[in-house]
Symmetry: C2
Subunit: 201 residues, 2 copies
DNA sequence: ATTTGCATGTAAAATGTTACATGATTGC
DNA sequence: GCAATCATGTAACATTTTACATGCAAAT
């Protein structure tokens, strides 16, 4: 099976840009990939130590005039190879656990309005996120035009935009479905008979 | 903060349908919500024990003629309330870790063809999943027409379909972006200068 | 002075996966 | 008889989050 620990690769990836400290890496994650990836100090610092032991990164403490030295790490040739090998393996599908869908799946346990609120709250959040993404697109295309990595950044951005657009449309459809079912809920056929044959999300 | 353990609610939710054993619950998860939720025995069995101690479920072992008795659990009034309280809380956004986007974000570390393969593999998988979802839709609408929970099942199904459709369109766009960047990669402006200001996914 | 942010970490807890052990029953 | 599946779990491991501890430096 594919190596499950991907903190390694997030770290190695950022170290291809420039030597960084654990703190730098955390900030870099937050500033550039936070919308689809997270790392905590509890993962980064121990992993940097391990990667140094394995020869994939090198500790190269940098003196600074007046300040205390920072613990900088740079990627080694070995580390670069390890990263590239990982980039060549097809990505695993993420282990999905969509709380929203779990709640809606059991929606018949609460009233119509509760389910409505659930979807509306999701819609609101999605809308705000989407606007944020569009702002990022504007900034990226104007201020980073011509950057070697821009196409890759735009790819990940586009993924988020399309995902959110699809979710907005889904919200509208789900609300329609909900209202329709509310208006027919006393039908004679509305009985509970076991579980459905595989629902998707 | 919201109670993070959602195995509780998956279990309580299924027990609203009928009394079940740990084994039954595992099968129910696999058969009906596997596309957006997973549970392992290592979570289900210990949690059933805990829920019984807390009075949210009741052990009601069922004798069977000729067979050994099964360890069935049913939901209590308290358990029902706990589930409903949770259904009323707006769902947390899932902690996303999209390996595909992490790989593409560092795409400049490998060649054009590698990134192409990455996207094409994802496209292929997404296409197959989408077709599977459409089969499920056909089965649900014909064989479960009028079921009380059908609207909720269709909502979760629709989410998956729209998600996958959006991803397919994204794949095509991403491949275009990739090919364009390959054809202009020797431009004078193509330099590496730090990290972008927040990329999304 | 003191708060805020920089900077480096660790420890404990929670969460989740995987593999294994065990034995009954059913279908071929 | 034998394989598959039913059925109930546990233990070990891996992963991830959260909270805490520590101290320096810069700004107010």
């Amino acid at each position: 099976m594919a190596s499950p620990n991907r903190t390694i690769y997030a770290i190695l990836g950022f170290l291809t840009v420039k030597p960084m400290s654990g703190y730098d890496i955390k900030k870099a994650v937050e500033v550039s990939i936070a919308n689809f990836w997270k790392e905590s100090y509890g993962q980064i610092y121990p992993m940097l130590k391990r990667l140094a032991e394995e020869g994939l990164v090198e500790k190269t403490d940098a003196e600074q005039c007046g300040k205390r030295p920072r613990h900088l790490y740079s990627i080694t040739a070995q580390g670069r190879e390890k990263l590239q090998a990982w980039l060549r393996v097809p990505a695993e599908p993420p282990p999905l656990r969509l709380e929203l869908l779990l709640k809606l799946f059991f929606g018949s346990q609460v009233d119509h309005q509760t389910n409505r609120h659930q979807i509306e709250a999701f819609r609101q959040r999605t809308q705000e996120e989407l606007e944020r993404y569009r702002t990022i697109r504007a900034v990226l295309t104007t201020e980073r035009s011509g950057h070697r990595d821009l196409p890759y950044w735009l790819m990940t951005l586009s993924f988020g935009e399309r995902d959110h657009e699809a979710h907005l449309e889904w919200c509208d459809e789900a609300l329609r479905l909900l209202d329709q079912s509310a208006s027919t809920k006393n039908d004679a056929e509305a009985t509970l008979t076991g579980l459905p044959p595989m629902i998707s999300g």
